[in-house]
């Protein structure tokens, strides 16, 4: 039967937890967990996330082969505060398990990397568990992986970087100008969001959710709202779904514009950034006019949206879309007409398709390396089932491919905006959430890729536990591979073409 079992067949025999929506959560024993690891080694099931919860470990999977809508969570009770690691069969789990160990004090047995990740030794140990320990006397001395060879030198960069960007440390080992190895050390922006959200009323927690990664505030607020709505078994009104999609596509366009400009800027082509920032500003102003906030923060809330779109707002957006159609194509032509610029982007920072699959990556990083997948389409959510959307898929896996995926996604989002503005239903935009306990999960496509949000609500309408998994968890490790063999000077270019979130993974 090896490899012939579907995810649902495998987990279906176990006890499903009541009030977990929309996908089931099964409690399995350690023997079954080990069997699950074996199944993972012979199947293509994607690991969507792994996180701690008291003395339990939850791992979410999707069976891409059998049915991409087959999503399920496996839960293992760990009274001895240890569990068999998934890292051998799903390397994307490595940093998530290191984080789980840091925050919950639960040990992944078999995980080769025993270094802490988010825990820098500057805050209490195992802060989310009942076995919370005091802050160590001095911070951890982090051991970077050894690199051996003739005439190698190291370049340490960060956590404070040269530009207006987030903090993180990059350790380059180079032979001359060529990068032999890059090792990332993150966790500098760790704010303890999971600890903060626990015990908060839903609306307060929603504000924190919208600030896990500010550039994806709409996507995160949407993911949180959908998870809460799943947990309390009440859907938002139809118009709210359309308004949410409207905001999500505006956010996608705004971010892609900045990325397209910034990538070219890092290849000494500043005019692209100047034009892109001008276009982006138009999107931000339209968002501010329509919803009252440039980034549309706190505008998607559990139950619907906070602000309805007025007739003037809809008109403003129609004008914006028709202008962008023309002006964005001019920007694309400008890029396409510069062989010297493409000389920098083509063939630089290649991510092999096999690696994108192995780490279960999503978003433009995956789609530029032949790995498809878009949460808007599968498992899918309203209103995208009623809209015409195709996601681009390229093979080259280089900086240029990641840039072209963004270009195609801006085009697709502009078309989506037109469709949404054309067909948006009327009616109410908010239906208050009933005070009801339950567990819910959502998968939402942000501009970087798929965001997972899992939430447990108490009977009195508070958040008991919430876990957000940023798409960058499965993209950061690929950057380490992409830069290998490239010159140091091309790192900013590669890094910008990934544009991973620091805050999103630092939690």
């Amino acid at each position: 039967m090896l490899g012939n079992v579907t995810l649902m067949e495998f987990l279906g025999g176990f006890k499903a937890v009541a009030h977990h929506r929309p996908w089931p959560r099964f409690v399995i024993d350690e023997r079954a967990w080990k069997e699950l690891i074996h199944q993972l080694s012979v199947s293509d099931w994607s690991l969507l996330g792994i996180w701690g919860d008291g003395s339990e470990v939850h791992a979410a999977f999707r069976d891409d082969e059998a049915d991409p809508e087959a999503v399920a969570i496996a839960t293992l009770h760990c009274p001895e505060r240890k569990f068999p690691s998934l890292s051998e069969v799903r390397p994307g789990a490595i940093r998530l398990e290191r984080t789980l160990r840091d925050l919950w004090g639960i040990t992944p047995v078999g995980l080769k990397d025993d270094r802490p990740w988010l825990d820098h030794g500057r805050a209490p140990t195992a802060p989310l568990s009942l076995h919370k320990g005091p802050k160590p006397e001095r911070p951890h001395a982090y051991q970077f992986l050894p690199v051996e060879g003739e005439a190698l030198h190291q370049i340490p960069v960060g956590p404070v970087h040269a530009g207006i960007i987030e903090p993180g440390h990059f350790r380059f080992t180079c032979a001359g100008e060529t990068v032999v190895r890059l090792e990332e050390r993150l966790g500098y922006t760790h704010k303890g969001v999971e600890g903060l959200m626990a015990g908060k009323p839903i609306m307060e927690a929603a504000k924190i959710a919208g600030r896990i990664s500010g550039d994806s505030t709409v996507a995160y607020a949407l993911a949180f709202a959908r998870a809460v709505e799943a947990a309390s078994a009440q859907d938002a009104p139809p118009r709210a779904h359309w308004l949410r999609a409207l905001m999500a596509e505006l956010e996608r366009i705004a971010n892609h514009l900045l990325d397209i400009g910034a990538i070219c800027n890092d290849a000494a082509f500043a005019i692209m950034l100047a034009h892109a920032l001008t276009l982006r500003e138009k999107v931000m102003r339209a968002a501010s006019f329509c919803f009252g906030h440039r980034l549309m923060m706190d505008k998607i809330i559990p139950g619907g949206v906070a602000t309805d779109l007025t007739r003037e707002g809809a008109f403003t957006l129609r004008v914006l879309v028709s202008k962008l159609h023309v002006e964005f194509e001019r920007l694309v032509d400008l890029y396409d007409d510069q062989p010297s610029l493409q000389d920098r982007t083509v063939g630089t920072g290649i991510v092999k398709s096999e690696l994108a699959h192995r780490f279960g990556a999503g978003g433009f990083v995956a789609r530029a390396s032949s790995r498809a997948g878009d949460a808007r389409l599968s498992p899918g959510y309203a209103p995208y089932d009623q809209l015409d959307l195709t996601t681009p898929l390229l093979q080259a896996g280089d900086v240029s491919a990641r840039l072209w995926v963004r270009i195609e996604e801006v085009r697709a989002s502009l078309s989506l905006l037109e469709q949404i503005l054309g067909f948006m239903p009327g009616g109410s935009h908010l239906r208050p959430i009933p005070t009801r306990g339950g567990e819910g999960m959502s998968l939402v496509e942000g501009f970087r890729g798929e965001i997972l949000m899992w939430v447990r609500l108490s009977e009195v309408g508070k958040v008991v536990r919430c876990h957000p998994r940023d798409p960058s968890w499965f993209q950061w490790p690929l950057l380490e591979a992409a830069i290998e063999g490239n010159i140091v000077a091309d790192f900013p270019l590669c890094n910008k073409s990934f544009n991973c979130s620091y805050s999103g993974v630092d939690l």
Partner: protein, 178 residues
């Protein structure tokens, strides 16, 4: 060629320039700076400021609006203000984020590396008092807990125009020494 020129002329006359007009100096900032800079007000820098930005655990929302300042629409550099890569070149340390425990030392060391006289600007509600992250085991509740803050620009995130108006007030104070 002539036709094209006329078209450009007409468009510029009708639409105006891409950059926004100079915003008025932010009054709240002037009052705040008046109180905070009392002792260092005699340090005169001339009409130029160099800023080293430090993200001390922000959600990256503030960074987006700060980046907008560099773009053609807000064009910070026309006022003599610009962002620099090294604290050694900076007059201003601009802090965003609630100051995570993991960034506190890096922020302090960046501040220490900047030459005197120097000013600290806390941007956003998080850098002001921790914002919605205040009270977490992993944050220090604002820039003030690590470095002396001269000017706070509240907002989540503050809009670019507001950032610009506040920075112009700082520029004026450091230039006139009043």
């Amino acid at each position: 060629m002539n036709g094209r020129f006329l078209l450009l002329l007409a468009r510029t006359l009708l639409k105006g320039p891409r950059s926004i007009a100079t915003p008025a100096m932010d009054q709240d900032s002037i009052v705040q700076l008046g109180a905070n800079l009392a002792e260092r007000a005699h340090a005169k820098l001339g009409r130029s400021l160099r800023i080293r930005e430090v993200d001390a655990g922000s959600c990256n929302g503030c960074e987006l609006e700060l980046q907008a300042l560099n773009g053609p629409v807000y064009d910070l550099e026309r006022f003599g203000i610009s962002f620099v890569a090294s604290p050694r070149h900076a007059d201003v340390i601009l802090v965003t984020g609630p100051v995570s425990a993991n960034m506190a030392e890096a922020l302090k060391r960046t501040y220490d590396a900047a030459p005197h006289p120097k000013w600290v600007v806390a941007v956003g509600d998080c850098a002001h008092n921790g914002g919605c992250f205040a009270g977490s085991y992993a944050v220090l509740n604002g820039a003030q807990s690590v470095v002396p803050v001269d000017l706070t620009i509240p907002g989540c995130p503050p809009e670019p125009e507001k950032l610009l108006a506040a920075l112009l007030a700082l520029l004026d104070k450091t230039a006139t020494g009043e």
